[in-house]
Symmetry: C2
Subunit: 411 residues, 2 copies
């Protein structure tokens, strides 16, 4: 049985006309001999509308009930698409998370998939041409509905592809694939034909909104080939796959940026063992993701601790820090929301040096001050003032020659 | 454990302000020491909107997928109300049909409840003040979502009350209770304090939209006291309960009418055994409910067969009859949609005669022609021309003295 998993995002299922395009793609794959598992998102705007409704009802909606509410969006999508597919003569049916089941842990609104009952799904594929699965949702061991976090339908798709050993997981969206950088910001951004899981991971974590980061981790873990492509064009899109030698020759694959950043500096905390833990443990317990962290070398038994978080978490984080003041003995807590992360990403960096210093030089030439630096094996990230973001991205993109083709050497 | 089941209809949960009124009622009952099971409908208009969306996608939507779509309405209601209840300090949680489970047969869009797992619900009531149950929905033995038909949330409420042996099932709506007739049509209609299950059954089947007929059947079967009352007033409403001797003294309890009627006459069918079956079996198989049926005494081996159906089923029924023509050998198929049913209802009729002839005399006085007559133990129904319906209802209501108090004798 040749199994193909396709996932369609919110803009691809928004209304009858677009669902007909989805149907055409499904029919094409059916004719080619595939059994299809199609994961759908809620129609564009629906999830946001439901979240807004919840906030009208509660300043801090119960997370379990919020998941009961927002899962209705995908439920409506799969019901409507299944009607279309059945009318077109396909043996189709919808499957909600609890019906498969896609079992998750009980972290409502950001649950993780623990298990997918593939025996049942495969048995159903015997009698069906296409199974239409509600993305984003699962069920915990108590039978309560859960959701996988923003963009979770990508993860539904990849997890199904992994569990069912599908040939490929196609992620259909409204862009042609993964670009060297944001085309809205850099007109000569180039679509990549292939990208490695690791690069995609860095791109996703750096704010590129093409794929949910969890889905990329999962694809990498189970070696699921993922093709990101558009519902609305015939472009073959971008294949996210295992790294190969050809990829390693490429020094820089893309430039990412993330404006949803906020810098917090805790001044003159006591420089003693455990101080970092006493700051970051309560923040982590509050479910707040800390991104970059820098601790300067101390002086006079005191040091500064600087880190970044997403802007939505600023108030909550400041409140936690105020509460911690007596414990950490800090002098001052400062914050700045007018900052932005810019990252240069490429698996080639593993074996080539010089990318970091080139990046710093390029930024300096444009008089862009670097506020923080973080590096990984295949990525260099600088925090800069937000007003310079467009200039920085365009400068780096052009200097690394990304518009012409894979950058194979430092400029 | 004192258990109270409350069911709130679409107008009672439409928006935050109205849900707050629902919350106040729930809190009051909680303070009085009750454990609550609250069944909710979809917000007013939501189900119709979803059905319209389905029709946009398919001329004849797959019934199973239609149920997946429309159940989202109640799902949203219970999630939002549970958020409110939790914020108010109540130990509350939502329960969808499949989570209880409320097991039904697989007749999508008009499923019947087969079983409710009360052990689980009672265990959950130990840890909760209020369980917020999605009305209208269930799950079949294959784990597929089902719905109980229009007004099915009433049935959810009564079925839960029966299964949990609740003290009473309160059905909250936007009217103060059950009236002697439609107040919109007859300004001196009077609210009834009590009504028997049988009378309520006849009223429901005759077009009074207060309670789904299935819910009344269920209440009668399990002797569940049902109180119909308004969310928006303090009126104690109408208690639907077992017949008692006091009720039997009342000759006529109410006047009902149903405009959703359509008369079909099959002329000169062959008057031989089995002809009725050969007409009505295919209609029943198509899921069409036939209401009144009259077969005139035959002549020359031929007879006329007249019956009524709801207007939505006219086209489908005519098509079936056309198909049957060669079998039943009829001469002509006629139909009339400008007809209406008017019924006089009262358990007192069981032991008192004269109500039928009084009804016919009253209609004759107003020059209203009777097209068909049907009777049951506690009801007399006449089919009349639609244009006379208001006149007929007011005439009967006034002549039987319903505005002043229970009618104890024929006028």
């Amino acid at each position: 049985m040749r199994i193909l998993v396709q996932k369609y995002g919110g803009t691809s299922v928004m209304g009858l006309e677009r669902m007909r395009l989805v149907l055409a793609r499904v029919q094409k794959a059916h004719v080619e001999g595939y059994k299809l598992v199609v994961a759908l998102s809620a129609m564009s705007g629906v999830t946001n509308r439901l979240l807004a409704q919840a906030r009208e009802f509660s300043a801090n909606p119960d997370p379990a009930e919020l998941d009961v509410l927002v899962t209705t969006g995908e439920q409506a999508s799969v019901a409507l698409f299944s009607m279309l597919a059945k009318d077109a003569g396909l043996r189709a049916r919808s499957l909600l998370g609890f019906q498969i089941p896609i079992t998750t842990n009980s972290n409502f609104s950001r649950a993780r998939i623990m298990d997918i009952d593939t025996v049942r799904v495969k048995a159903m594929l015997e009698d069906h041409d296409v199974l239409v699965v509600a993305g984003f949702q699962g069920v915990d061991c108590n039978g309560r509905l859960t959701t996988l976090g923003r963009g979770g339908s990508d993860t539904t798709g990849v997890a199904l592809a992994a569990a069912l050993e599908a040939e490929v997981c196609e992620i259909y969206t409204d862009v042609n694939g993964v670009y060297t950088t944001d085309p809205n910001l850099c007109s000569n951004a180039r679509k990549l034909d292939r990208i490695s899981y690791d690069e995609m991971l860095e791109l996703s974590s750096q704010g590129a909104k093409v794929l949910q980061i969890r889905s990329v981790e999962l694809a990498k873990k189970f070696n699921v080939p993922v093709r990101v492509r558009s519902t609305f064009t015939d472009d073959p899109g971008t294949l996210v796959t295992l790294e190969d030698t050809e990829m390693e020759d490429v020094l820089v694959s893309g430039i990412a940026y993330d404006k949803d950043q906020c810098r917090i500096t805790v001044r003159n905390v006591m420089d003693r063992p455990g101080v970092a833990a006493s700051i970051f443990a309560p923040i982590a317990e509050a479910g707040i993701l800390v991104d970059m962290i820098i601790q300067n070398t101390g002086r006079d038994g005191r040091t500064d601790m600087t880190f970044t978080i997403s802007r939505a978490n600023l108030d909550k984080t400041l409140a936690i820090l105020e509460h911690l003041r007596p414990v950490i003995g800090c002098e001052d807590i400062q914050h700045d929301i007018h900052v932005c992360k810019v990252s240069v990403i490429g698996v080639g960096m593993r074996s080539h040096s010089g990318v970091a210093s080139t990046m710093f030089t390029l930024l300096k030439k444009e008089n862009i001050n670097i506020l923080m630096i973080a590096t990984s094996e295949i990525k260099i990230t600088c925090l800069i003032e937000e007003k310079y973001v467009e200039l920085a991205v365009r400068t780096l993109h052009d200097a690394f020659g990304l518009s012409e083709g894979p950058a194979k050497a430092c400029p």
